[in-house]
């Protein structure tokens, strides 16, 4: 299972890592490198010169203008930078080039250690249709349906008849909910097929769609695996990510409230079988849908570190990025399945720059004030600071707030406490939305599925019981407003012409 002599040679000299990403995940990886005594190289686009990941790195290289296609997606420039600065490894993070098999291959060709699976494993498991074939070979339960693209609407009608309505049309190259259509009867299928195909073509450059039985009110539960170069592969428990909006995860937790030891073992062993069948190395995640009867169905595999990996770290006590590096250096895992035990409960909230009160519009811009939660059981992986201008060019995730406690109920209450401490001024965020979810009886009883949040959002919001009297609110507003106009002395730490220029530059971008 070793990746050959060349990979072995590469792996043996890992001293400097280039992090081909930005935001909180780049910072998180830089921190892991520092903890392991590895030097770090950050890359940045023009709007990210002052981003936290650049400030945390030992070295930094400009990639290009703001748009990702001209910067963070420029694999050629990233590899060139790694060679110039003599980095011997590249960590891709998530998103951007992390699941690009050609980039993984190019790294190998440039004698750079790509911290992730080999390109071949990515290809085998990256396409939804290929992955479904691999899942069948690994005797993994999956949602009934086609494993290859549908040639015509006639084939779609035929398959749908066989597996029974309702069914779901999905883009083969897709993700993020695009090119998806739920169909409840044969009459609706032809138009849905045309719409899904054309949306898939527009979004992914391929009109290929396939068809699956629609699982009603499914939960999204995924298994974290990690494999070394010596054929060892273990699972690190599950994460439940059923709280989603427009197919984007909003809250994740570990363990799942509905997964018991037996189900965990069966899902975990299936995930490990799939990974081993494709020669998988490094960290990966196998996603499943779980129905009301706790049947699980293979959904897809993510061949990279996931956004929500911290909840797994909290309940296993392990550090996934450290493990990724060790594995990439050719070291054996040093852990067997029986060494992995889950303890307590962890919840993660994805803090986004978006306005829940206004159609969830994105809200980039200057962060004028930042009060961050901390203390017992709280972990904050943030990618911003007060004075940083959040660019409009990348995804709106500002930070991940994680709460750990002995029980799920205590973790929820701890998260509420931490959210109360969290203030991000200058831009809109979804912090208040989490409060609403975490106080909701449905969430608290774990009565959640992938449609849960959308249902909650159309409900009337209950007003909270405790609230300051109106005259206190009026008084506070009056005092704070007066204070802001009676400013007459210079600030204790005067801003300089530089700062102001920098801010203007940031805002102009």
């Amino acid at each position: 299972m070793l990746r050959g002599d060349r990979a072995g040679k590469i792996a043996s000299v890992m001293k400097k890592v280039l992090i081909a990403n930005r935001g909180e995940i780049a910072l998180r990886i830089i921190r892991a490198c520092r903890e392991m005594g590895l030097a770090t190289v950050a890359v940045y686009s023009d709007v990210d010169r002052m981003a936290p990941h650049v400030l945390a790195a030992d070295e930094a290289v400009r990639l290009g203008p703001a748009p990702a296609a001209e910067s963070y997606l420029r694999g050629d420039r990233i590899i060139a930078a790694a060679r110039i600065l003599e980095a011997d490894a590249i960590h891709p993070g998530y998103g951007f080039l992390s699941e690009n098999a050609a980039f993984a291959d190019a790294c190998l060709a440039a004698e750079l250690n790509f911290i992730g699976p080999p390109g071949s494993a990515m290809r085998a498991l990256g396409s939804k249709t290929l992955a479904r074939q691999a899942a069948d070979k690994a005797q993994m339960p999956r949602v009934p349906g086609t494993v290859t693209g549908l040639a015509s609407v006639e084939e779609a009608l035929h398959v749908a008849e066989e597996i029974g309505y309702p069914v779901m049309l999905k883009a083969a190259a897709g993700g993020g909910g695009k090119g998806m259509r739920a169909v409840t009867s044969a009459t609706d299928l032809p138009s849905a097929f045309a719409a899904a195909s054309s949306e898939a073509e527009r979004s992914f450059g391929s009109s290929e769609v396939y068809l699956e039985k629609l699982i009603e009110q499914p939960r999204h539960i995924e298994i974290q695996i990690i494999a070394d170069q010596h054929g060892n592969c273990i699972y690190l428990g599950e994460r439940e990510c059923s709280v989603q909006r427009r197919h984007q995860k909003v809250i994740e937790e570990a363990p799942s409230a509905i997964v018991d030891e037996d189900l965990r073992r069966r899902m975990g062993e299936a995930a490990v079988r799939l990974a081993l069948s494709a020669g998988y190395v490094n960290a990966g995640t196998v996603e499943f849908l779980v129905d009301a009867q706790r049947n699980f169905y293979f959904l897809e595999m993510n061949t990279r570190l996931q956004v929500e990996h911290p909840v797994t770290e909290m309940v296993t006590g392990l550090d996934l990025v450290h493990l990724q590096m060790s594995v990439a250096m050719g070291q054996p895992l040093g852990l067997t399945q029986s060494d992995v035990a889950l303890r307590g409960h962890a919840i993660e909230c994805r803090i986004y720059a978006e306005d829940p009160d206004n159609n969830f519009f994105p809200s980039p811009g200057l962060i004028t004030r930042l009060l961050e939660p901390s203390g017992p059981g709280i972990r904050l992986d943030s990618g911003v600071y007060a004075g940083f201008t959040v660019p409009l060019d990348y995804d709106p995730m500002l930070a991940k707030l994680v709460a750990y406690a002995p029980t799920r109920a205590a973790a929820i209450d701890r998260m509420l406490r931490a959210l109360d401490e969290y203030t991000i001024g200058g831009i809109r965020t979804n912090i208040a939305l989490f409060r609403r979810i975490l106080l909701d009886e449905g969430f608290r009883t774990a009565a959640i599925d992938t449609g849960y949040l959308e249902r909650l959002l159309v409900q009337q919001q209950a007003s909270e019981s405790v609230s300051p009297p109106p005259e206190i609110v009026a008084l506070a507003a009056a005092i704070l407003s007066s204070a802001s106009v009676t400013a007459s002395v210079p600030a204790a730490t005067p801003a300089t012409r530089w700062t102001s220029t920098a801010r203007r530059e940031g805002l102009r971008a």
């Binding site: 995804d395 909270e464 609110v473 008084l475 005092i479 704070l480 407003s481």
Partner: protein, 164 residues
């Protein structure tokens, strides 16, 4: 100093002593009621208010006040304030502008100048943070002006399209 504060449709008259900066408690009048308040500014825009033993940590963000996890949009009616009353420009009749609700880039313009549109019809798509957002017509009418072109960068409040 007297300030009028409007919160959730209700107007409150607040009288503050001229010098709140001296330590200890101060008499403030809210709608004629005396409130003994110990107010400390912790940082610009962050206030600790102590009234009858209760402690309120209040933060200001633009035109929104936050106390605990609750937020209160408000307006101030004070000639010395930087914030005047909320603008009356967006009246129900007359030309209505579709403005950018956030910074972003124009992806597509879905209408042409002179075209008749329905209320809630999509008129323009702008993108920020990998999200495309279709902006709708606030009322039915005729497109009298298209102020931007595809690929343009726009800031919050930037006028995109005007409907008459």
């Amino acid at each position: 100093m007297t300030v009028w504060v409007e919160i959730a449709g209700a107007k409150h008259r607040v009288e503050l002593p001229a010098e709140l900066s001296v330590g200890g408690e101060h008499e403030c009048l809210v709608d004629g009621n005396n409130i003994l308040a110990d107010a400390k500014l912790i940082a610009p825009g962050v206030l600790s208010l102590l009234v009858s033993g209760c402690q309120y940590l209040c933060t200001l963000d633009g035109e929104t006040l936050r106390i605990g996890q609750r937020t209160y949009p408000f307006t101030i009616d004070d000639p010395r304030s930087l914030r005047g009353r909320s603008s009356q420009a967006d009246a129900a009749s007359g030309p209505r502008a579709v403005k950018a609700p956030m910074p972003g880039r124009v992806v597509r313009i879905l209408v042409a100048e002179g075209e008749q549109v329905e209320e809630h019809q999509g008129v323009i798509v702008i993108e920020a943070m990998k999200m495309q957002n279709e902006l709708k017509a606030p009322r039915a009418g005729r497109i009298s002006r298209i102020a931007v072109a595809a690929e343009d960068a726009v800031g919050t409040g930037h006028i995109l399209v005007v409907i008459e």
